[in-house]
């Protein structure tokens, strides 16, 4: 087995996980047929989008919704608290 740079956990996922500190412009193979060009640096363990995600669309990891996009997210972008919100246990909503 050779070390991969990005990991997609489930076929339904729209985010991948960085298995290294990845730099903007890198082309990351995520499935047999798909390579993503990163638009920004993705630190180890952080998520990047596998395709364009519309505002309000669910962010899917482990095949399940982990939250919702706060803004539209371009493919290859960092997906984290600046552009994603959780939906559960929210006292502020």
């Amino acid at each position: 087995m050779c070390k991969k740079e990005g990991l997609v956990l489930h076929e339904k996922d729209n985010v991948g996980t960085a298995l290294n500190d990845l730099t903007a412009g890198s082309k990351i193979p995520v499935t047999k047929n798909q390579t993503i060009t990163l638009t920004e640096d993705i630190p180890y363990g952080f998520k990047f989008s596998l395709h364009d995600i519309a505002r309000g669309e669910a962010i899917i990891k482990y095949g399940e919704a982990i939250g919702q996009a706060k803004d539209s997210i371009k493919a290859g972008s960092l997906v984290h608290i600046h552009n994603t919100e959780g939906q559960r246990a929210r006292g502020d909503l």
């Binding site: 956990l9 180890y44 399940e64 939250g67 939906q87 929210r90």
Partner: protein, 398 residues
Amino acid sequence: MFLGYKRPDGKAGIRNHVLILPVHRMVNSVAMQVEKMVRGTKISITTGEVGRSSKDRETIARTLLGLALNGNVAGVLVVGDNRYSCKELNHEEMAEIINSTGKPVELLDITESGGYYNAITSGARKAHKLVLEASYYRREPCELKDLTLGVKCGTSDPTSGVAGNPVVGKAFDLLVKAGGTAFFSETTEIIGAEDKLAKRCVNEKVQEKLLAAVSQIEAKAKATGEDIRNINPIPENIKAGITTLEEKSLGAITKSGSMPIRDVLKYGERPPGQGLYFIDGWMSSLSLPLGMAAAGANLFMYQLGGQGMPDLAPPMPAYSAGLITPMMYLTGNPRTCLKAEEFVDFCSGDIMEGKSSIEEMAEKLMESILKLASGTWTKTEIINLQDPVEFYLQDPCF
């Protein structure tokens, strides 16, 4: 197979402690003096029970009794005073229950012993006798069915749900299939993943208990008026790349493996039989090890992410917070393995490197667990420090 201590009630122990058990907060100081004087003892300093609801006092009682009945305990010195007894916390009743299991127990009542200094002397003498008796025990071959493990994941990062927790989950599967017992918990951290767990409950009643536990904690979270991200995921999780509570939960539940969930237990409650159990509890590193020790865990596994921890030899989140139950640290993050090597007992980081599978690592983890169960010390067990622990009490104080 491992080498453990066989107790009169049929339970197995992997350590051989005498427990000093103050039942009322007012007798803690006497118990602490006794513990200092007598080698081979461990103390459970109890939390304040006055001004608390009956439900919370029951939780304290259940936790104290559970610790006493844990297989890692060879004998118990129960310390109390009739003046402080209440219906939930009665030291004489507690000693009777322990005695009924065949475990050696001594009772120390402060007033009856002649006050503070006389009680210390009397307590030390009783503890001395219990420790001598405990030293007669020899380790004997025990089977996997005699072993009880508890797990918590902590300082989680994106390796937790991929390379750390799933290895524990596979090891739990091996243990439960062999007839052993396993606990997982952290109710807040199944929010967003509860449907997956509900499908694994053995019947509708257990399923309802699980979903009710989640609704209750979610309602409490909403009642704070805060965005849950101010509270959980914790800052270290967010710094490491975990974005939402749902994401954390979906990674966290992989530590439970794939076996049926037999029941939902209260904090500190002992299970009715063997198998996999969910404990309705708080994730705190200082609270959950205590609750799992009370439920009967022989070994507490702390599955670290660790990416959000300091980069140079970080302190661990807790030391011996299981009191009588040793804490084993493990991680699936290769970077955490390196920076926390002094305290980490098992590393499954090869999975992240693409060098090993979850199944291979789970086999190795079981070997490592059985060594610790047979007497090898965990790395943090060697540190001569016990964190102050927190009972999981949920009602307001008055």
